[in-house]
C-alpha cells in the first residue's frame, strides 16, 4: 500500500511538468532588443566584416611573427658583438679588484 502510494506520488510529480503550457513573451521585448542592438551598435556578421577581421588577424600574426623573429635573431646574437662584449666584461672584472689595497 505504502509502496504503491509512493510510486503514484512520484509519477504525479513527473507528470506535473508535462502539462506545461507556453507562456506569452513579455510585451515590448522586441523593442528592448532593438534598443540594445542600436545602443551597442551590433552589426550582422556579413562577408565584408569577416574578411576585415581575417585581414586584421593576419596583420597581427605577421607583426608578432616578425617581432619573434627579431628577438630570436637577437638571442642567437651577433658573434663579433658578443665577443667584444665578453672582452669588455672580462676587462671590467680584471681591472676592478676588491682585494687591492
Amino acid at each position: 500500500m505504502g509502496q504503491e502510494e509512493k510510486e503514484d506520488w512520484i509519477e504525479d510529480v513527473f507528470d506535473s511538468v508535462r502539462q506545461t503550457k507556453n507562456v506569452e513573451v513579455p510585451e515590448g521585448l522586441f523593442e528592448k532588443i532593438e534598443q540594445e542592438i542600436d545602443k551597442t551598435n551590433v552589426l550582422p556578421f556579413n562577408n565584408f566584416r569577416t574578411y576585415l577581421l581575417a585581414a586584421g588577424i593576419a596583420a597581427l600574426l605577421f607583426a608578432n611573427g616578425s617581432i619573434l623573429y627579431r628577438l630570436s635573431e637577437g638571442a642567437r646574437g651577433n658573434p663579433s658583438k658578443e665577443l667584444s662584449e665578453s672582452v669588455y666584461v672580462q676587462s671590467m672584472t680584471l681591472d676592478f679588484n676588491f682585494y687591492d689595497i
Partner: protein
Amino acid sequence: MDQNSLLAKIANGDRNSFRIFFDTHSELVFNVALKFARNKQDAEEITQEVFIKVFRFARNFEGKSSATTWLYRMAVNTSLNYLKKYKKGHSIESVDIAPQKFYHPGIESDHKEKANLMFELVEYLPDKQKTAFILSYVDDLPRKEVAAIMEMSLKAVESLLQRAKKKLRVNLEKIYQERRIDK
C-alpha cells in the same frame, strides 16, 4: 517566406525580417529559457541575448538543420551559460538548501506544487542531463530532434534521459520518505 531567406535578409541587417523572425520564434525561445532559468526576468534576459545573437550571426546559419533546431540550440546554450554566470554553486547534494521558489505560470494550479518540486530537482542535474530531460520530457520533442539540437547521437540522448530520470526518482524517493517522517 521561408526561414532561410528570412535569415539571409537578417544577415544583411533587414530589421523587418528580424521582426518577423522574432514574432515567429520568440515564444519558443522564451519558454525554453523559462524552464532553464525558472524566473521570468532571467528568461527575458536570455531571450534578448538569443535574438541579438540571431541578428549578429544570422549568416552562420547554414541550413543543415531547421531554423527551429538552430534556435533551440542557441536558447539552450545561452540559458546554460547564463545560469553558470549568475547562479554558481549548485549541486545535487545541496537539495536541502532552500532553492528559489518558482511556480511556472503555464502550469495549472492543481499541479503547481509538484511541478515546482520537479523543476527544483531538475535544476540540480548536470547540464546535459538537464537539457535532455527538459527538451525530451517536458517539451515532449521527438528524441531525434533532441539529438539534433544537442548534436549527439540518439543513443547518447536516450542514455542521458535515463540517467536524469533515475537521479530524479532517487531524489523524489528521499523527499517522499522525509515528508512521511515529518508527518
